[in-house]
Symmetry: C2
Subunit: 345 residues, 2 copies
DNA sequence: ACCGTATACGAAAACGGTTTCGTGTTGATA
DNA sequence: TATCAACACGAAACCGTTTTCGTATACGGT
């Protein structure tokens, strides 16, 4: 077992000082040509690599960024993560991921673990519980310590920091307009219980579109489903007893489930009833019929968040210009597929 | 901006030595009761937390584990990751993820980045390119340095380390047996080009089941698809020109795509043709009809890998008992759903 | 012979902890 | 009163780097 070699080993072996070795390996002008060559050759031979931890301690910069997301087995968060990871890696940063599992306590614990020197900055989407509790002290503590923070998707106005979001309201508005334009009038909304997270904004867009076209806003046309649990019966009941010709769903899972229910009851998609979902993932592309859905551009969001964070990190070290926090808005786009094909007869 | 407080600050403020502060915060018997209380109170007031990096440098242990996977936007890897993350977090470890993107070079670079002190051990699944190249020197270097390594799912016999795999051959065998038992005789296999990765083993199980039941093994009944690219036409042609009453697919994406093609051509699933896929993910649960598939228990795999790794890490520090490497096999299980319901008439 | 100045290198501090090994003070004991 | 242990704390080394500053040597110029 070849243990890792250090500057000290090289110094001892070649009978020079540690500082000489360090400088030689950086090709410093201070060191004689022959000494440099000798040291560099030796270092290459023994495959010397500087110890990251020691460098971190010295520089007070770890080249790590911390990502805290509510769930990793979730298409949207996963794509965002990929965007973050790619950009960060290109810039020489590593990514430490923690999953809050929608729990406030886990979010707090994870942040505290990482905030003590392990990372140079945070990228995160708030846990559901955190949004309900409306308690953001853990975030504030971190920013007060001068650790850069970028929130994405699930953000809050209570914390001053950079943010990346999509134009949920507008996207939902456009989607519903599209449904209306194809002749649909009885448009339902399937959303999460309590309009958690971004669902509220999507609902607003839905309302705006209806209003603009003088269509009635009917609470009875809104189905609220629990976030992760099954609720087949509730959905079946909803679609059985109503006359509906189009549905906007706040995610693709709800959309695909509902399409299944509707189809099993003998109706045809999109002929009798059209569907649009949010999150353009693998489900949308492979369902039958394929599902029209709003692409949230997760990868771009991740990349944007990472860029903003790394800029802050690398500028932070400079002087105290007035802190400026930005909110970037990524435009969601509707991807049309079979579930909205054609107009209502 | 409240900067992080250090032992030195506390020592200076309370006019004691750094060592006294360090011991007092560890509640050492060496320090007088009143001094301890004073120091602890001060530390709590200013919310002192030891710097992780400094501790890592001293202890030569980072409490970080490195995870390298080929793809993060992939249900199976994601579930494995969740298993790793949960177990590791419980044990006080953080997880650094790098995505190799199926590329040999990225895998090498990522490993080298992390191996220089950033992590205490690796968990990884090999990149496709690495498997093709059959070059595992980066893995060997890491293990020679005494860094523990656990491979999962995509493993190799060329590296001596702990491994976690599923019984792919047996699972495929059982799946095909099930198809045969329900009266199916013309069973096709849909696999990845070149039988990459674990596909080869699944094909073996398929062959064994056919052989055992004296069914012909016909290369013409095997469809090889490129890994990530679309190949609708090839698949359509395959199903159009053959008489097939059951299909085993090496992943759920292929299965759902093929089900779609078959259904659009007017055949019924499972009445005319049954389907079984691998990877029991969201697609299997939400496709129409729902797809029977082999659950690889990703979360359990991840947890197992993390447990094995952390055991090695924490034992490693002890003495040099003879290294023992284990290969744990997780039993995959077939989850039956609508796509295999009932027997062939 | 003296001074100045490159040249080439080493000593030491610093990053923020932990830990070993003193050591000054106190009180009890002989 | 001298001795000694117990107590309470500090000095210093160490982890592996980087970086500033100091200095020995040699050499050229006068």
């Amino acid at each position: 077992m070849k243990r890792k070699i250090t500057l000290k080993h090289i110094a001892r072996e070649l009978d020079v000082s540690i500082s000489t070795v360090s400088k030689a390996l950086k090709n410093s002008e201070e060191i004689g040509q022959d000494t440099k060559e000798k040291i560099q050759a030796f270092a290459k031979l023994y495959n010397y690599r500087p110890n990251n931890i020691a460098i971190s301690l010295k520089n007070k910069r770890t080249k790590n960024i911390g990502v805290i997301i509510p769930d990793i087995v979730h298409h949207f968060f996963t794509t965002v993560f990929r965007g973050i990871e790619q950009y960060a890696n290109n810039k020489g940063y590593n990514v430490i991921v923690c999953v809050s599992d929608e729990s406030f306590d886990k979010e707090v614990i994870n942040m505290e673990m990482l905030a003590n020197g392990s990372i140079d900055g945070f990228i995160m989407a708030l846990a559901g519980e955190t949004q309900l509790k409306n308690d953001f002290n853990h975030l504030k503590e971190v920013t007060e310590q001068g650790i850069p923070l970028v929130l994405f998707d699930r953000v809050t106005e209570d914390v001053q920091c950079d943010k990346v979001i999509i134009n949920d309201e507008e996207a939902a508005y456009q989607a519903v307009k599209k449904l209306i334009a194809s002749g649909r009038r009885k448009i339902a909304l399937v959303t999460t219980e309590g309009y958690l997270n971004v669902s509220a904004k999507r609902a607003e867009g839905y309302f705006r579109a209806l209003k603009e076209h003088h269509l009635p806003i009917d609470k009875d046309m809104i189905l609220e489903l629990p976030y992760q649990k099954d609720n087949e019966k509730k959905s079946e009941e909803f679609f059985r007893n109503r006359s509906i010709d189009a549905v906007l769903c706040v995610n693709e899972i709800f959309a695909v489930k509902c399409m299944g229910i509707v189809q099993r009851s003998g109706k045809r998609v999109p002929d009798d009833i059209a569907f649009i979902g949010f999150t353009d993932g693998i489900l949308s592309r492979l369902s039958t019929p394929t599902l029209s859905s709003v692409d949230q551009h997760g990868e771009l969001m991740g990349e944007t968040a990472a860029r903003m964070l790394i800029e802050k990190i690398e500028r932070d070290h400079d002087q105290e210009e007035e802190e400026i926090f930005q909110t970037r808005i990524i435009s969601a786009t509707l991807v049309e597929r079979e579930s909205t094909l054609g107009s209502l007869k």
